[in-house]
Symmetry: C2
Subunit: 457 residues, 2 copies
């Protein structure tokens, strides 16, 4: 009954049941081969353990460029090349530390890290009274009188009641992003943000803060969720608590880096380009396994499986390792800039995986309604592989700049429950990735690229 409905839906929309069966068989061939022969997990191990943390501008970031260039060659890409871009070069510097200090001089050491792109305190560090706020409204109410000369502690937990954790991340993220400058506006000398983590543990989670040039740039740190709770409890018990913290991070001049691009040339419409990628850079504290080594190695998998199964794409498939998503997005912008200049090419579709190597559940699309509706006809074929939904809205930071070219954007949406336990923290390690979950994500990505390539949009 259900099958009949599916077949009818396909017929009505111009797909024949025969095509459906053929595609279903091809889906199975692709999935079986990835589950059996994928290099994604081994490549991820290499990126995490042999290259390691790879913040833009670091030697490891350069090593990751070289190594993914090699990987795509070995996987059998027709061509692999580099695309130069300048990237910010922020460095964390010497070991960071923070102490909570009460009026008797008793100290308690806090698990903290500097926020990305933030200024440091310098060697001497910074000591001041710490005050807690839970919203910008509270900050505004305190005003200059309550804030000046102090360290503002933003203690806004990620809302546990959103099933989709990215939503809670979006809500809480404003304090990391704008918080330091909003505090500086009222004369604060430092800012500390509760880590954007959905669990209670001891890892501080870094991530970019964005200074507003109208206000002084003040040192900014993140504190582990457990210690955020601790500081908050202490503040309720004791008056005039002070904090000392020291960070020696700094922003150095931009340096040259690269996106890495591997291509399989299209046989029928070589000038129509389908882009797929993840970002190569990671935070300096983490192996960048889920964020976003996973997306990189999943994206490369199409080269391996197409060569292995002898699938020749009609359109050109470009696998892109984007540089600098974390603290500048320069790679994504450069890719779109070059694409815009390639007047003879049409960038019809781009897919990004940058939400972790977890079990896939859906794809999100930024697309015109008729395109999305056309894509949705394929959902029944994806269900056996765990993807039940093609939803409106989605893509990825690196491919976002392609949208003005009319490119349809897609983002893999894996299950999000564990993502923010690891995101931007030292426990984003290879061991936290399940081989099968990673591969199932890669499978669905290749399947989506397959139908887009075969049938166009």
């Amino acid at each position: 009954m259900r099958t009949i409905k599916v077949v009818m839906a396909f017929c009505l929309l111009g797909f024949s049941a025969n095509a459906q069966n053929k595609d279903s068989a091809m889906f199975k061939r692709i999935a079986d081969d990835i589950f059996t022969n994928s290099k994604a997990y081994d490549n991820l191990r290499f990126l995490c353990k042999q290259v390691g943390p790879r913040l833009s501008g670091s030697p490891q970031a350069e090593k990751s460029v070289k190594e993914t260039f090699r990987m795509m060659k070995e996987l059998g890409a027709d061509t692999v090349y580099l695309q130069e871009c300048m990237v910010p070069h922020w460095v964390r510097g010497a070991k960071e530390s923070a102490l909570l200090v009460d009026d008797k001089g008793t100290t308690f050491s806090l698990n903290i890290c500097a926020l990305g792109n933030s200024v440091g305190t310098g060697k001497k560090g910074l000591k001041a009274e710490v005050i807690e706020v839970r919203s910008f409204a509270e900050l505004d109410a305190l005003g200059e009188k309550g804030v000046k000369g102090k360290i503002v502690f933003y203690n806004f937990p990620m809302n546990p009641t959103n099933v989709e954790t990215f939503r809670s991340y979006g809500e809480a993220g404003q304090f990391r992003g704008r918080g330091p400058s909003m505090a500086a506006k009222y004369g604060a000398v430092g800012a500390m943000v509760r880590s954007l983590a959905s669990n209670i543990d001891d890892y501080p989670h870094t991530g970019t803060t964005t200074y507003n040039d109208s206000f002084p740039k003040i040192p900014a740190i993140a504190v582990s969720t457990r210690h955020a709770e601790y500081v908050s409890a202490e503040l309720k018990k004791k008056k005039g608590l002070q904090m000392y913290f020291r960070t020696e991070c700094e922003m150095l001049p931009d340096v040259k880096s690269h996106n890495v691009i591997g291509e399989i040339r299209g046989t029928e419409f070589p000038n129509e380009v389908i882009t797929v990628g993840g970002h190569l850079d990671s935070w300096d504290l983490a192996e960048g396994a889920h964020d976003d080594g996973a997306g990189c190695v999943q994206s490369m998998e199409i080269i391996r499986v197409y060569k292995k199964l002898g699938i020749k794409p009609k359109r050109t498939i470009r696998v892109v390792m984007f540089m600098n998503e974390e603290n500048g997005l320069r790679g994504g912008r450069k890719y779109a800039e070059v694409a815009t200049a390639e007047k003879n090419k049409k960038f019809i579709f781009a897919l990004e995986s940058d939400a972790g190597g977890f079990t896939p559940r859906a794809f999100g699309f930024t697309a015109e309604e008729p395109v999305l509706n056309k894509l949705r006809n394929w959902v029944p074929l994806f269900k056996p592989y765990g993807v039940y939904e093609f939803s409106a809205g989605g893509g990825g930071a690196d491919i976002g700049p392609l949208r003005p070219l009319g490119t349809t954007l897609a983002g893999l949406r894996p299950d999000s429950q564990r993502y923010f336990d690891h995101h931007h923290a030292a426990n984003d390690t290879f061991e936290m990735v399940s081989k099968r979950e990673l591969e199932l994500g890669a499978i669905n990505m290749v399947l989506l690229l397959y139908v887009v390539d075969q049938y166009g949009l």
Copy 2:
């Protein structure tokens, strides 16, 4: 458009849009409270870390009875009581070991463990030539001539191409279950089975073997997947390889144990019983976090959240911690036996969670077609909580014996990709469970029980 369709479906089937909105609001209240105040994760930590491995007949199993009795009292159950049952008492005994020995006397130590319910070799151990087979057909082809006096090594990997890992477990499981006796039939003196694991690592995975009384009971062990690959490779290189292994496990006389039952009494139909549970016992090698501490603590959550939100069930809710699922199923059988004798009660529905504390994806039902169709009308309300499918077939080992009473059976179906990395092995630990995934499972279980209680079947 989609909303209209959903509403229409509800109206056609006798549900009003109003009821749907009311239920949707209640779903949100339940989910929010579990994500915010659940005790499931803390209770699981207690079971794993303060009680630990709890094989039937062990002191820890008895401790788990006492502690879950306390937990359900504390959560606010109207009554909590024990249901006596006799359970097998298999003990692993002294430390197990195994060596691969070549003709030069070079030895290689293998990661092994005795299979549950198996006989041991005794202190002296067992030494014999080892031969590998990949199927029962291969074993039959070798016959007595090829097998007699040897150790049979069943090296059948779990098929990686099944998206649903339980399917591969089912296919590979026959070698652990029947393999030793099938080998003994041809005169083998011992059996070694490749661990039922979907990854390659160093943990041996135990689990029950079932002897056929027609043949001698021979000692049986599982070997880690990595060492299964190693032994296989060595067998290809060297002739006449021998193995030595020693296990001192034994089956002792049955002992008394208990199911633990917590009830919330129904207000309208107290004699209609809705059962929900997991199993309290675990293998002795593991903390039993995913298998099945998770199912136990998820099941208890309905008591907490109903009391907290003041929800009074129409029907009686029985939360059951089943004893002895792993190597006897005596708890499940006893529960059904007692239920059969309770002539004044109707056991309308039973739900089990015994597939790990992973992110939920579906429920599986053993139900008559009209019942399943009725249940399926609720699927749209579950989608926001990650459950997209109510499928035919499912339940759980412990609730299975209720089926002859006409009970509709349901099983939570979490994502299965990681389950067999941990199943029955020492790495089935608390740390491998995500708080949010565990809670999301509990949420969906309570939601299902809620609609069944409110609307009946």
